[in-house]
Symmetry: C2
Subunit: 383 residues, 2 copies
DNA sequence: CGGGGATGACCAAACGTTTGACCAAGGCTA
DNA sequence: TAGCCTTGGTCAAACGTTTGGTCATCCCCG
């Protein structure tokens, strides 16, 4: 055991300190460890942090490391944060957790963050996100120095709010949205996904297409619409778009009714799977069977897709990866680097199920009907 | 403007301090405010916190409050937390965010927490939650003093882990699960919900019932099974139970195949809506139409229920309220009070949709179709 | 033997709060 | 007029870290 050293003359004793890390006693502080190893707290601190400028004898270092283990020392994050003005916490701003779209993003973000020793706090932000509202939850988090940075995954927060926030001391990364010339962002390739979905319908022989989109004007909606329009044009197909008021089933239902009542389309690209459920419902109310009378392809694949009737043909987007990379981008910014606009690489994947087939009475036959998996669930990479 | 006072003789000046709360400058500290109001920081602190023992002239108090407003002072949470050994942060432990079951609970918890000035950090905990794993994410959070307490909503964490955690310094509230004689918990009335679902089938005339349950042995599963069994016995119905391995669609699918292959039931209570989707799929694979040949009632209502085909008859459980009350219970514990076991009040509500009807070829007619909503409210949403 | 580096460690300030102790000045009472 | 209380504050320590300085000792070299 360590001999008594130093002018304090205090003899350190191996006290019974093997407290369970979940036990009831006070966690060991730097000072406890220093006393145990009979050195100054600064030595312990530098050992813990691997300070390269620390000059210390091997014997002392080992003594310190042993004490650290025995006392099961863990740095107090608040004290460290106070000193360093950091929190190792990031905020994830979203409008609503019920929307399954956000779950995988949050999940991916949490995974990556915890790998890096960060916590993720969720901040639900209502649509009342006006620029000068002093009670904006996330602005408060920033102002109280409770987070090191923010991931904003809400499509509803005003551009102005984001611009203001982006001028602040803390980095901001916008998730799956671009705010022109303002903030760093990470997005999935919505446009490519939309093209894949649309091309699939065209490959099946559809030439009169509908797009049930999200609220108009939203960046997100624009990117997807661009993809649908591009693929439709390339395929020589007619396209009519109906915007819903949101991304919920009712919005899809309403928009689809409007679309189907006025236009004779045979295939629809729905902006997401939830909206697609509303589209299918609307079609059936109008007496059109899916996929016999109307084909539907949805963007995003959620676990529920196979269990809808008919099961939905979808395009998978890498949402977990989106969350992970959003965190990485925030770290990049925290390290002092400049804003970037990142698009997640990787081709969107088409998942064939039952909601899309060849049009009934017209058009070319599907190019390769044999590729359809019998169970309708086999995944075929983009053709 | 405030005159120069005190022996420092320092004249305070109304500097241009109206920084936007999201602006780029350093947030004002207590010291800044003190200098601005020309008083000691302790006065400012006591004013901010409404210390009743503070004796101060009205003039001074107003001067301080004015400075607080001008400088837009917000306490630094880390410093305050360091001093008071609190974080105003609670951890929410869950296995997986993709399961829509958790979304409303987290959402409710976040709402309530933010009302109370608390942040919610999500902690995903894999099933590897063994008692002595030093790298348990939530144990680390506790040990580093990053949270004031924990809400555990994972059904998979070992009882032993919870028992150990529960002996620690920080309060622990188990969400929707009871760990015998150990920790405080908040649960919804699963048993009552199961009874409502089962009674509905019996009222429709079913006498041979199946229960597709969650993994056996889990408290949750037991409570629901108790409800199903009680109602079945009361109605003189036969009951056979099949346990899935999880709460995902595949588990429901597998368990339902097993159940339907070996027993001739006419109605099934599924432990949740996701599992129910698997049950419906299994039935259809076996050539049994829902609801004509098999009625299905699911516990929990998620927004997707109306859009499944057939749309699912469900029993609504107050999951958001569960989240809110879990936070309240944690606050109760943080205030130093003893553990409690709380069951959320309020009758589970039956939502009638298309997946359950009278049995085809047998049995008594429904007793009184109008009486089936136990709470007297007949709910019939779209679909 | 004196000077100059290394070596190995300690000291102390600072981060922003909270809070028990203390104190000067003035007024009241005995 | 001495003593005491009240009013209106100030002082300073403490929470647990981090980190730029300082410092005593020892060794080596000229």
């Amino acid at each position: 055991m360590a001999p008594s050293r130093g002018k304090t003359g205090q003899t350190s004793v191996d006290q019974d300190a093997s407290v369970s890390s979940t036990g009831g006693s006070r966690p060991a502080t730097l000072r406890d460890v220093a006393a145990h190893a009979d050195v100054d707290v600064s030595v312990v601190s530098r050992v813990v942090n691997g300070d390269p400028r620390l000059r210390v004898s091997d014997a002392t270092r080992e003594r310190v490391e042993r004490s650290l283990r025995i006392l099961d020392y863990r740095p107090n994050v608040q004290a460290r944060g106070l000193r360093l003005a950091r929190t190792w916490t990031i905020g994830f701003v979203l409008p609503d957790l019920m929307n399954p779209f956000y779950a995988p993003i949050v999940e991916g973000a949490e995974q990556r963050a915890s790998e890096l020793g960060y916590m993720v706090v969720i901040v639900r932000e209502l649509d009342r996100a006006r620029a000068d509202d002093p009670e904006l939850a996330f602005a408060r988090l920033l102002h109280e120095d409770r987070v090191d940075g923010l991931l904003v995954a809400s499509g509803r927060v005003d551009d102005d709010v984001l611009r203001t926030l982006d001028r602040g001391r803390r980095p901001l990364v916008i998730v799956n949205r671009r705010v022109p010339g303002v903030a760093g962002s990470v997005v999935v390739d919505d446009q490519a996904a939309a093209e894949v979905a649309t091309s699939h319908l065209i490959d099946l022989g559809h030439r009169r297409l509908g797009h049930v989109a999200g609220p108009s004007g939203i960046d997100n909606t624009l990117r997807r619409h661009a993809g649908v329009a591009a693929a439709a044009a390339r395929g020589g197909a007619m396209l009519v778009t109906a915007h819903g008021e949101g991304w919920d089933p009712e919005s899809g239902h309403t928009a689809a009714l409007r679309l189907l009542a006025t236009h004779d389309v045979t295939g629809v690209v729905a902006t997401n799977i939830i909206v697609a459920a509303g589209v299918v419902g609307a079609a059936q109310e109008l007496g059109r069977r899916v996929p016999e009378d109307l084909s539907v392809v949805a963007l995003h694949d959620f676990p529920v897709a196979p269990f809808l009737r008919p099961s939905l043909t979808t395009v998978v987007l890498p949402l977990e990866e989106l969350g992970r990379q959003a965190v990485d981008e925030l770290m990049w910014r925290l390290a002092g680097n400049a804003r970037r606009e990142i698009t997640i690489a990787g081709r969107p994947r088409l998942v064939l199920r039952d909601s899309a087939g060849p049009p009934r009475d017209e058009g070319v036959p599907a190019r390769d009907p044999g590729a359809r998996a019998l169970d309708g669930r086999r995944v075929r990479p983009r053709g």
